[in-house]
Every structure is written in C-alpha cells, then in structure tokens.
C-alpha cells in the first residue's frame, strides 16, 4: 500500500529533476531595429573626382531645370560624399538624343581628359506641372442635423511630375558605367505653390536612393530576438 502511494510522487520528483533545468528556456522575445548593409550600386573604387555636366532638360515656363540640377547635385555630393566635385562651369552637351549621347564615348572621354574627371555625371530631367483644379465630391457631417451629407465644391489643385535619369560615364574610357531612373509625383490642393520649392522638395525625397548609387547605405528593418 505504501509503495503504490509513493510511486506517483517519486516519479514527479524525478521528472522535475530531469526537466526543471530546461524550464527557463521558455522565455520572451524583443523586437529590435536592424540596419541591412547595401553596397553602392556603382563600383567607385579608384574614383576621386566627379564632373557634373549639364542635363538634357524638359521645357518648363519658370525654371532652368538643368542648372538647378547641376547646383543641387553638386551641393548634395559635396555634403554627403568624400569625392572631389569639380567646381567648373558645367560642360554643355552636344545636340543629340539621349540614346545617341549614351553611345558618344568620344565626347565623354574628351571632357574626362580635359577636366581630369574620373567619373562624369549627366542626365535628363523632366518636371511637368498640371492644373487639376475642378469640382470635387466630398462627404461632411452637417452641424445642424448631424448627418453625413455629400456635396461638391471647387478645389484648386496642382499636380507635379518629376522624372530624373542619371548617367555615369568613365572619364577614362567615355563608356557608360551606370544609368538609373527616379520618378516622384505630388498633388497639392489649395493656393498655388512655388514650383522651385516643389522641385527641391521632390528632389529631396529622391536623395537617399540617388546617393545609394555612389555610397553604401543601410536599409532599416526590424527583427525578433529571443532573450533566453
């Protein structure tokens, strides 16, 4: 009788002795930010000097897009990279289509030699604006009845469409090393906004992607880590 009464208890003791040390493994986790390193998209080993040329530009009533791009890219690269950005009057481009320009290695090689540039940055910039003012339908809560009411009203709206292509050429061979394309769209409601202000705001949003061509960057994500 005594032995049958003690057996389950003894078994419990032994089980506890065997498995108790593992019990703390059942524990928690935390979410942590991680930065995933990404190499620069263009191999810039051996590159010290960069020349920025004028860009192929779309028509815009108020802005000199090519000059704005040259100024902006020069300031950005000086601030964010260790390259020497050549401070010269930006060379003009031959009157050619974009595709012909890309194949014109002789032209790029010649300006590479003339200015002592390891890398030449050029591109095409288009900045279109469109007036989208008109009547829009909207729902609102009536302050009198408290009911949802649909009404139409006239709204001033302006749409902006920025398209940027960048081309990198070897200053030594004149060959195209890398090309990329970035686009950005925005629609503003209300009073008309300054186009130059919008152009810079939209370029500012493209900046991290653009810089990723020339310098390593980190992509921010989150992951779970187990604490025990």
């Amino acid at each position: 009788m005594t032995s049958t009464g003690r057996r389950p208890a003894a078994a419990g003791v032994w089980l506890a002795l065997v498995f108790l040390p593992w019990f703390p493994l059942v524990a928690g986790s935390v979410q942590v930010p991680i930065g995933l390193p990404l190499p620069s998209r263009l191999d810039v080993s051996g590159v010290r000097t960069i020349l920025i040329t004028h860009h192929v530009e779309g028509d815009h009533p108020h802005l000199e897009l090519s000059q704005e791009m040259v100024d902006l890219l020069r300031r950005t690269l000086e601030r964010e990279t260790d390259f020497e950005i050549l401070t010269v009057e930006p060379p003009n481009l031959p009157e050619q289509t974009v595709e012909d320009l890309l194949k014109n290695a002789e032209f790029w090689r010649s300006i590479g030699r003339r200015y002592g540039a390891d890398l030449i940055l050029s591109g095409e910039v288009l900045f279109d604006t469109e007036n989208r003012s008109g009547f829009v339908a909207e729902d609102y809560i009536s302050p009198v009845t408290g009911q949802r009411v649909r009404r139409t009203r006239y709204a001033e709206q302006e749409a902006f469409d920025l398209s940027l292509q960048v081309f990198f050429f070897s200053g030594e061979t004149g060959e195209l090393s890398y090309r990329d394309r970035f686009t950005e769209e925005a629609q503003i409601e209300g009073d008309p906004v300054d186009h130059l202000h919008m152009f810079y705001a939209m370029m500012n949003r493209l900046e991290p992607e653009f810089l990723g061509i020339l310098k390593p960057r980190k992509r921010q994500e989150t992951r779970y880590l187990f604490t025990d």
Binding site: V18, W22, I34, P37, P39, Y224, L225
Partner: protein, 152 residues
C-alpha cells in the same frame, strides 16, 4: 538514508554497493547527472544569449554575433539561438550565412511564428537584393559577390 563513516569503519562499502546495485537508483543517478550537465549547458547558453541581446540593443552587433555563436556552441539545436545568430548575420551583412542559419532555425523550430516572421522578412529583402546585384553585375555570381563585399 546514507550515513557517512570514517574510511576505516566497516559496513560502508557493502551499503553503497547495495544501493548502486538497484537498477532504478542507478537510472535515477544517471538521469540526474545528465540533467545537471544539460542545466549547466542551458545556463551558459542563456547567459550568452542575454548578453548578446543586450549588445544588439546597444548596436554592438559584432559582439552580439560572437555571443550568439558561443551560445550555439553549447546549444547547437536551439532554434532561438539559431534565430538570433541569423539576425546578427543579417545586420552584419553576411546574408548567405543568415539564410543558412534561418533554415536551420526553422528546421528545429518549425512552429515558431517569430522565427517564421523574421525569415519571411529576410527572404523578401534578400531576393530583392540578389536581383539588384544580378542586374548590376551581369553574369557575375551575386551570391559570391554578396559575401565577398560584406564579410570581414
């Protein structure tokens, strides 16, 4: 109950021999010894894990990776340790190794939702990363380039 006597005292040896001749007691002693070894390994693994997580939260990911590797040395089949090590490899840019370790973690902890969530996020990123490298480097092996550029 065991009573300890001086070495010269008669009667001790037969009593212990009698206890050890019982198979149940022998088994229990063996299990207890095994359990204590496991406990020691578990304790070591937990210490390394905690320190590793602390380092990771402070941004010292190289140290975190080292600690998770130490934890894995004593608990090589622990899905949680494998998960943490994979995350450290990711953060330190060793993507091919991270993938390998994530797959091991999933093998040992297939039902762990957090490991699955981590791996799914990593898989999306890594596929995108490899295709970018493939586009840039043409026919060059992106896998090799990835590890070459990030390791060390």
């Amino acid at each position: 109950m065991l009573t300890f006597r001086s070495p010269a005292s008669p009667g001790r040896t037969p009593r212990i021999r009698g206890l050890l001749s019982c198979p149940r007691i022998l088994l229990a002693v063996a299990l207890l010894a095994l359990s204590l070894c496991a406990a020691q390994a578990g304790k070591e693994s937990r210490l390394q894990m905690r320190f590793g997580v602390d380092m990771a939260r402070r941004g010292s990911w190289k140290e975190a990776q080292y600690r998770f590797e130490r934890a894995l040395a004593v608990a090589p089949q622990d899905a949680r340790v494998l998960n943490n090590l994979a995350v450290a490899y990711e953060n330190n840019g060793h993507y091919a190794r991270a993938q390998q370790i994530y797959l091991q973690a999933l093998e040992h902890g297939p039902d762990n939702e957090k490991i699955r969530a981590n791996y799914e996020r990593f898989r999306i990123f890594y596929t995108d990363h490899l295709s970018s490298l493939q586009e840039q480097k043409g026919e060059e092996s992106p896998e090799a380039s990835d590890e070459d550029s990030q390791d060390g």
